[in-house]
Symmetry: C2
Subunit: 135 residues, 2 copies
Amino acid sequence: MIKRIEHVGIMVSNMDESITFYETLLGFQLRVRVKNEEKEIAFLSHNGLPDFEIELLHDLQPTTSYSAYGLVNHVAFIVHDIEEIISYYKQKGIVFETEKPKYGINGRKTIRFRGLDGEILQLVEEKKEEFIQNK
Amino acid sequence: MIKRIEHVGIMVSNMDESITFYETLLGFQLRVRVKNEEKEIAFLSHNGLPDFEIELLHDLQPTTSYSAYGLVNHVAFIVHDIEEIISYYKQKGIVFETEKPKYGINGRKTIRFRGLDGEILQLVEEKKEEFIQNK
C-alpha cells in the first residue's frame, strides 16, 4: 500500500540561504518553490536519487511551526489511494493529525500521523498521471 | 561530490516495536540490526525506493542521545572520498562534529556536520565494492 518513500522535510529559517547551501554544497537542484500565508516550501531533487527529494520548510507564522518536532522534521511516503490507507491505518489504531487529508502543493492529497515515538510521518497520494506513468 | 542521499535516521525508544511498526504498516524490510555499548541501530529498506533506507536508532546510554535534535534526526549522503569532501567543506566554513571520520557499521567512514539551522547532515563513504558495482 505504501509505494515508496518520497521526501524528508527540513525546517529552515532563511529559505534563500538554505536553498543555496543545499545546491552548492550538497548538489541539489531546486525543482519548485511556493508560498502561502503560513509557510514557504521548496522541493529540491538530486540526480543521484531521482525518486526522492528534500523539502525545505520555512514557517512564516511562528504559531504554525513544526520545528518543535525537530529540524529534520518528517518523512513522506507515496500511496496509491490515500482514503483506503487511512481507513486501514485507523483500524490499526493510528490517529491522524487531521480528520481528512489536506491538499498540498500540486493539489495532491496529504495527511500526517505519528510513529511510535511521535516521529512525524506523512502520506501523499500520487497524482493520476504519476500512477499511469509508473504502472 | 555527493553521490546520492542514502538514509534518514529516526530515534526510537523500543527497537522491536518500531521495527514491527515500519515493517507491517509501512512495508519496510529489516536489512541489518546491530548493537554496541552506546546504541542499537537497524537499517530498513523499501522495495519502492531501493537506494534509500530508514535507520532506526535506539540510544542505550541516554547521555549520548541524539533525540534532543528531533525524532527524525538526520539525513545521510553517500560520497566517494570522504577525506576529499571534508577538506573541501572545511574551506567553505563547515565545522564537523568530530575532527576525523568515525567508522560506522560495515566499517564505512562517516562524519556529521550541521546545515544552516543546525539540521544534522551526515557523510558516509561508500565501500570500495559499492563503488566498483555502481561505476
